[in-house]
Symmetry: C2
């Protein structure tokens, strides 16, 4: 096979050429990540299903539509307030599948273990995964284990892939936001990123900030019971709310206007961000979703979300507009506006 | 979530207790791997679909049956004679899906990149994956990229998960071997393992031994056109033919008798194995399959396989018997017999 590859023919447009080697920012979920996908992986893999670049691929199969998603988890440390890499790996893929409006059903788990990993820690992680799968109502049905020599891993890396069924009347994708839609956020932001960073930086806050890692499929099911008129769903993980909205603005070729004062940022997250020099809009969440819906259904949907344990603080944070297509703009507390750019590199490495 | 985990309640039966930490052998596809799955992962994830432990899970979905499989690839070096980690990752999962008799359709790809990985090498690997997917007739539809800091990876690790459709009249699984069946092997063994080991050990043979990495779904489709009476299919990868047959013997509670003189071991593989102190029966293959079928269909199937480019050297290597259930026994060239045990640890680390 490798003889068939012509290195010379491999075209790598700017600005990927600026980087002869992978840097941490290529994994940050920001501009560099997007460029790697756009200029290196997409040309190599090219096909129509991949080109949509949602959290899941939507596959026509056996008369229905299947959502299929994959995610690798390399979070460091493995254990953090509110969870560990195990429930993160389950919830992350459950959520990616749910963001296409699908009901997640089946998960796979692939482990890359580092020689020397403590068996008991691995056992706790596996137990956590089992419990998280039961909580989300999905089955772990197939798996794989590899071991790499000491110094070539970091305890354990976990890949999960997920499958779900999309109901016939559901049509949710990143490119379906329309001017006039409103942006709903399901709750407080910044918790997962700050929980992990606090451990890593050895910070000691008055209140322990716990990760919000949670399965969102139940909340999505509740939302779809209220209305199937949901245009976009997205969980703002790596790169936070800012990156997720930028991706949607670009995919839908619409502008998005945020009301910064409406963003639910807990005081402890705010304080930690000040200390660490972070912007909560870019910090990873693992149990929150963004929904973009027609204004006509927003109030009813919001009321329903607020009745769900994972949507109690749901709120409208912005609008979709025909102005400034592809851009996210925030109205600041002072009455001004600022452009919310996509982060270039990596604000918080190895956060999920 | 982690608060819900009771470490004390985590029961870890012998002999897993002998190892407080992960060792390379837990990734070798032998006894230690099996114990890790049996005693650590299965109790944590427990459900009926997982318990079958085939190369794929078989999922009842939308009125049909779907095969779902996952595999992580950590081969070292990344490039070897006959291929690289890219086509290995595609073919490996295509084959796992095909071993349930399914037609593989869709693949996901999850990359764990090490900081410092050369962009051009990654580009070649991605191009190789694209070409391998086209050769196998599958679509790469969803993906994920993470970056870990230097010294916590090894260039690139790739996880692929795969989906395929199983035709209504196909029923293939590791537990379906029956006394009276015969064991067919599709071609020469030991090529992939020796190709990788040669590079790693810096060995220079007269002939370059190339990996046999190839997609087996076309061969399986050809076989199923001849007869749907195929009981078991298995690609003897990690742990080789010996481990694959041991797993089948245990799953089906039958004995398997091998005729050692019938095993197609190329002279170069034989010589390399002598030099490296390896037994070809335990060396990994990435483009070969074992088929266990009723004796009544064996000759017709063999003739058909031999017409396929990937089955030209297909041959009957053994029989399934009601004697010594769970055991694999080889008739040696000298007329004696020996028990072919499952390898305990890792003969060839990081071979796939």
């Amino acid at each position: 096979m490798s003889n068939a590859i012509n290195i010379e023919a491999w075209s790598c447009p700017l600005p990927l050429r600026d980087h002869a080697n992978i840097i941490l920012g290529h994994g940050g979920g920001g501009k560099l990540s997007a460029e790697l996908v756009q200029h290196l992986f997409l040309p190599a893999f090219q096909n129509e299903l991949l080109a949509h670049l949602g959290d899941s691929a939507v596959l026509p199969l056996a008369g229905g539509r299947l959502a299929f998603s994959t995610d690798s988890f390399v979070v460091q440390p493995l254990f953090f307030p509110g969870g560990n890499i195990g429930d993160l790996a389950i919830n992350g893929t459950v959520n990616d599948v749910a963001m296409s409006g699908a009901q997640p059903l089946f998960l796979s788990a692939g482990f890359i273990l580092e020689e020397g990993m403590a068996m008991e820690r691995l056992g706790v992680i596996a137990q956590t995964m089992g419990a998280a799968a039961r909580r989300a109502g999905v089955l772990l049905v197939t798996g794989d284990t590899k071991v790499v020599d000491r110094g070539h891993g970091d305890g354990v890396y976990i890949n999960t892939s997920g499958l779900g069924l999309i109901a016939a009347d559901v049509n949710i994708a990143p490119h379906l936001a329309r001017p006039g839609d409103v942006v709903i956020l399901s709750g407080a932001i910044g918790l997962h990123g700050i929980a992990v960073m606090s451990v890593r930086a050895g910070l000691d806050f008055d209140t322990v900030i716990e990760s919000d890692s949670a399965p969102l499929n139940g909340l999505v099911a509740t939302m779809l019971e209220t209305t199937t008129q949901i245009h976009v769903l997205r969980d703002p993980t790596r790169g936070g709310v800012a990156s997720a909205l930028n991706e949607i603005a670009k995919a839908s070729q619409v502008g998005i206007t945020l009301d910064e004062r409406k963003l639910p940022v807990p005081a402890a997250v705010h304080a930690a961000c000040e200390l660490l020099g972070l912007d909560p809009l870019y910090v990873a969440n693992e149990g929150k979703l963004l929904a973009i819906v027609p204004a006509s259904v927003a109030e009813a949907l919001l009321a329903k979300m607020q009745q769900h344990p994972l949507g109690r603080q749901a709120t409208i944070i912005g609008q979709v507009t025909a102005r400034h297509p592809g851009m996210v703009v925030a109205r600041t507390g002072l009455g001004g506006t600022r452009v919310v750019e996509m982060y270039v590199g990596e604000q918080l490495p190895r956060i999920c």
